[in-house]
Symmetry: C2
Subunit: 335 residues, 2 copies
């Protein structure tokens, strides 16, 4: 064996050792059960070279909803809190909004009234607070908010409310050559600010609802992109597979969601050839997190709706349901 | 040193040796000159840990225009040839188009008349031939066309008309941790069919003009995406940095183009902090490829326009111009 060949062989041996160790420890927060088994089986049959269901590395795509799938979405989506928190700064810039609804209600601080704002009002707030600045200004504003905002129940930054078993799953899939994408109904620009730090996911692997930008020049001639109120992609429901096609261009082999907004993504991933993994996170742990949705015997929720129909579809199509109560040893890293 | 630590050290040593060998051979088709020097210098200062201009791997983004930058665009863009070639099949499906312009002219086979079709007519043909089928059907049609269509001058498949020095550059950047993206004014769905095979670039790293898709179900209930005539992104001019923000979410550190359609991308990449590389491919080799544009002393071209103004901007902003004639030893792999 020549010297370079020996080096190469040692490299391969070293990497194999690393991978085997990593796999054994990778899903440490998962209980042995049908969900963990389904994941291990899927990864085995799609990544072992001798498997008839082997998937070449460039086709290993896994997509994850964020809110309710990777991190807590109750009592209110994190990004919606950001938009509400931005209203005072917006009103300071545009005082004429002070007496205009829905900004007036938000400025009143009346929590009950704010909680009752209907969706079109929330959309007005979302669009108004996410546009009108350059992309660099937006990134700085979000980073600042994330460093100080806290979830009301755990009194922790939102970025600490990620589900440890799902973080392990992201790493486990990446160690086996999968590219992991977030496919969120919320704004992709928002998630991209923290995706690398929190999920190990680069901004280009975050797909989400997107408002357009406009290219132009600052007064000193520097090129800049300004966020403008024109919806490019509504990455919910049918918008999820459409967004996946737009941004990723391949059908995922695995998809993970928790609500009706993820139905079409789970169907689309599940309907391809070969081995497929569609999984549904069930919020059935009122003690450690939250319990909601008819599948838990509880009333449905406006935030993260999981209808009985979707639950039935999951059962009928052989998707695996992840019970937070039964499948997860730990939910949060800080527990 | 423990056994795992020894293994790890050997791995690192082996990989370093591999990388050093790869770098020396990587740009074999480039002559020593200002263009090659600029590339080597940029990669050195952005990837050596001790460099004050070091760029962390997750921020190493390089974007490439396709037509005229990575492959031949004269006498006519490859994808436009595809659309023209699809017209007979379209007319067979929709006979009512036979006597409607511009389809009538294309069906006449009159090359001179076809060459004179104005842009709005070409757009009608593009939209009509790229929509109305599922994404799977479209991919199959493009793959079939690519396997038989030939460029009129070299009598070779379009996918062999890539520039060898640029293919080497793509590999060289990837070996140094850069993610390489195509950012094309033509359709991203078209380029994605061959990007992995031809450029080593996965579909998710192809950004381009995009028509929307619509999620639905086939008669047997299988989910499918249908291509529809709604423009999501016109990835030309200002649309290039806007498309980069939409799909990549980070400003590139390096960008490569050849025409006015690339101006804003080159400006945007060049205007960031730290080391930046904006390069302009100049078609000045009439013998081995083509020569066009005022910067070569020749008349401007409708296909791949490079105005004197853009050439002047390049000089003024310190972008490096790549002379095909002087900087490239070989242009095509088949030479």
């Amino acid at each position: 064996m020549t010297r370079p060949k020996l080096m190469w062989a040692l490299t391969v041996v070293a990497l194999m050792g690393f991978q085997a160790r990593a796999s054994a420890e990778a899903l440490a927060s998962w209980n042995d059960g049908p969900a963990k088994k389904a994941i291990l089986e899927f990864v085995k049959v799609t990544t072992e070279k001798s498997s008839p269901k082997f998937v070449p590395p460039e086709e290993r795509i896994a997509t994850f909803d964020q809110d309710g799938t990777l991190w807590v979405e109750h009592p209110v989506y994190g990004q919606l809190m950001y938009c509400l928190d931005r209203v005072p700064a917006l009103v300071a810039q545009k005082p004429e909004l002070k007496n205009v609804e829905p900004f007036k209600t938000v400025m009143s601080g009346d929590r009950e009234a704010i909680a009752k704002l209907p969706m079109p009002d929330l959309e007005k707030i979302i669009v108004a607070t996410l546009t009108g600045m350059t992309t660099d200004q937006f990134n700085a504003e979000v980073a600042k908010w994330l460093s100080s905002a806290k979830d009301p129940r755990w009194k922790k930054p939102y970025t600490e409310l990620t589900y440890l078993p799902m973080i392990e799953l992201l790493s486990f899939l990446r160690e086996h050559g999968y590219k992991t994408y977030i496919v969120t109904g919320f704004g992709q620009d928002f998630v991209r600010v923290y995706s690398q730090k929190v999920y190990g996911i680069t901004p280009d692997q975050v797909v989400g609802s997107a408002l357009a930008t406009e290219y132009g020049y600052a007064k000193d001639g520097t090129p800049q992109l300004t966020k403008v109120p024109k919806l490019m992609l509504n990455d919910n429901n049918a918008g999820k597979p459409e967004g996946i096609h737009l941004m990723i261009g391949q059908r995922p082999h695995a998809a993970f969601g928790n609500s009706t907004g993820d139905q079409q993504m789970l169907e689309y991933a599940g309907a391809g050839d070969g081995a497929r993994l569609s999984m549904l996170v069930l919020h059935d742990d009122a003690k450690r997190e939250y319990a909601y949705g008819p599948a838990t015997g509880l009333p449905d929720s406006k935030i993260g709706t999981l209808t009985q129909a979707l639950y039935d579809e999951a059962k009928q199509k052989g998707w695996t349901v992840i019970s937070m109560k039964d499948d997860w040893k730990k939910i949060f890293a800080f527990e």
